[in-house]
């Protein structure tokens, strides 16, 4: 029973982290119909920026605020100067250019910070443990859980209650109409790309002390992220929540029961969902 609860919590924590990364991906796709392969690289950048901040300023919390903004700014630059230029060339071209960006970011990270994993200590205030059903559980993981839930609530608020959120949701369902009604869609695209990469950076910062910071972390989460966004339905935020939860649990319990083939399950789930419902669990259009 104890192992069950702990494993469930592990899955939940990883699932929430996945949600933070994939929500940005799915948001961007929903609006621009562009699958940003480089998305996970922005997540990695968040982790590395946070390492650098920690080294220079010595404060994790300052990094939590500043680093995602820097990452989001890079995302905006990417949209403005690369994606927008090839927008007329169609989705294939937009999709393909993000491959190049992925290479450039991943290799720059290796260039600047080396290939060795970098230690990012857990902030002192959260380095303790908490007792849960008789076992010790690291407080930092609970922080990830709590923090991600806050971000989820914030996103729900912005999307459902603010003018920006209404515009974004409208643009997801009919981009041309929103543009015709006088909204500056290129600007909104840029903003959404900024927010999406900001979310990825945020996830990267909090993931740093949890999963070690190393150059392979982008590709590792990228594939899981795809599984989440596709299973949940491209462009669906609710789908991202549900699928993140599913994948988190699947990987957590998969490792417990069938360690050897644990990674197969996520792909199997993705393939099965796509075969049965091509648009994903909560996706509308295929």
């Amino acid at each position: 029973m104890e192992t069950f609860v702990i494993q469930f919590l592990h899955g939940l924590v990883y699932g929430m982290l996945l949600f933070l990364v994939s929500s940005g991906l799915t948001l961007v796709f929903g609006m621009m119909s562009v699958l940003n392969i480089a998305h996970a690289s922005f997540y990695m950048l968040g982790a590395y920026f946070s390492y650098q901040m920690l080294k220079m300023v010595g404060n994790f919390w300052a990094g939590l605020i500043v680093c995602p903004i820097l990452v989001g700014f890079l995302g905006i630059l990417m949209e403005r100067f690369l994606l927008r230029r090839v927008h007329a060339g169609g989705h294939v071209q937009e999709f393909v250019i993000t491959f190049g960006i992925l290479f450039v970011i991943n290799e720059s990270v290796k260039w600047i910070w080396g290939t060795e994993p970098l230690p990012v200590p857990i902030p002192p205030a959260l380095s303790g443990s908490v007792m849960i059903v008789g076992s010790i559980y690291p407080a930092y993981r609970l922080f990830i859980l709590f923090f991600s839930l806050c971000v989820l609530a914030l996103m729900a608020y912005v999307l459902l209650k603010t003018r920006l959120g209404i515009t974004v949701r409208a643009a997801v369902s009919d981009r041309d109409m929103v543009s015709a009604l006088g909204t500056n869609t290129p600007f909104v695209f840029m903003l959404v790309m900024g927010i999406g990469t900001w979310l990825a950076g945020l996830a990267g910062v909090i993931a740093g002390p949890f999963i070690s910071t190393y150059p392979g972390m982008a590709l590792e989460i990228l594939v899981d992220c795809f599984v989440v966004t596709v299973t949940g339905g491209l462009g669906s935020l609710l789908g991202a929540v549900v699928a993140s939860f599913l994948i988190g649990q699947l990987s957590s319990f998969g490792i417990l029961f069938i360690p050897r083939f644990a990674i197969v399950f996520a792909f199997l789930l993705m393939a099965i969902v796509l075969i049965i419902k091509p648009s994903g669990l909560f996706g509308e259009k295929a």
């Binding site: 230029r85 999709f95 190049g100 991943n106 792909f267 393939a271």
Partner: protein, 301 residues
């Protein structure tokens, strides 16, 4: 004229090029076939495959397992076995893939690729897992030793040449035209009365088969295979090759694979971070020459 010149040059390569260069040219030719199949999917069928290494890797593994476990399996039968297995898998997975298009198609191919990759990686007893498979026989072909690089080059050239000819011929057939019509407007093609799904399925099987052939050739070329033949990296490489050369041109994949193989070889000889430079070059190409190198050349004329 240019074609005849290139043909003569291709025949003379083993005599004029040093051994090291000949190896690279052989690799270019094998990879060109792989890139061609990827390009065919996109260009003829409008299908963007994000998991094309699946067929390449399956071809490589199937042929190697054949040479390892089937006694007396000849060179050509092994290559053919690789193509057959990859084509068969292309047919089976194609049954699910035909209903998809656009990003969803790309992602389902990715899912299948990752699924099979994970199985190949973890099923150590058969595939060798991370250690890969080596020390498999390299049978003679009609009494000619394949261990001689020049002979192997000629055989690869002939096999790839035949496959490329079939690919070219396919674009001329009515079926090839149906595929193009699906690409430009699937709804309309369906409405006119073409069997859209069957055409896509044939295209997927065909490209799977040829990818398998190139994978099997690649296995004999390297004399060793590992999960890198079937992983996401290989699926990305093929995309790079096809795009650099120019997806709108028949010879694009050949040019692309040539540039890719040479560039990766030379860049990696003087910097560890060659992929950085490569990524930059790729971004510049997509930005300024979306039709690839051949697109630039054709525009100049």
């Amino acid at each position: 004229m240019a074609g005849i010149g290139a043909g003569v040059l291709a025949i003379l390569f083993p005599y004029i090029l040093p051994k090291f260069q000949l190896r690279m040219v052989t690799e270019i030719i094998i990879m060109a076939l792989f890139a061609m199949t990827w390009k065919m999917l996109l260009n003829e069928g409008g299908l963007f495959s994000f998991g094309h290494a699946l067929y390449f890797g399956l071809g490589a593994y199937a042929s190697v397992l054949g040479w390892l476990h089937i006694k007396g399996l000849s060179f050509m039968s092994g290559i053919f076995l690789g193509g057959l297995v990859a084509g068969l898998v292309g047919l089976i997975l194609g049954a699910f893939l035909v209903r998809m298009s656009g990003t969803y198609f790309a992602l389902l191919t990715l899912a299948f690729n990752q699924l099979i990759w994970a199985i190949v990686w973890k099923w150590r007893d058969v595939t060798g897992g991370d250690d890969g498979l080596g020390k498999f026989p390299k049978p003679d072909l009609l009494g000619i030793s394949m261990k001689n690089p020049a002979n192997f080059y000629y055989v690869s050239l002939i096999i790839v040449g035949i496959c490329l000819f079939i690919c070219w011929y396919f674009t001329r057939t009515p079926l090839g035209n149906v595929c193009v019509s699906i690409k430009s407007n699937e709804e309309r093609a369906k409405f006119i009365g073409f069997n859209v799904n069957a055409s896509k399925l044939i295209l997927l099987t065909l490209t799977g088969f040829f990818s398998g052939i190139s994978g099997a050739l690649y296995a004999q070329f390297q004399e060793f295979i590992a999960t890198s033949t079937i992983d996401l990296g290989m699926s990305t490489n093929v995309l790079f090759m096809a795009f650099i050369g120019g997806i709108g041109y028949f010879w694009g994949p050949l040019i692309g694979s040539g540039i890719f193989v040479y560039l990766s070889e030379y860049l990696s000889s003087f910097t560890d971070r060659w992929e950085f430079i490569f990524g930059l070059i790729f971004i510049v190409i997509v930005l300024f020459a979306p039709q690839g190198i051949l697109g630039i050349v054709k525009r100049k004329k």
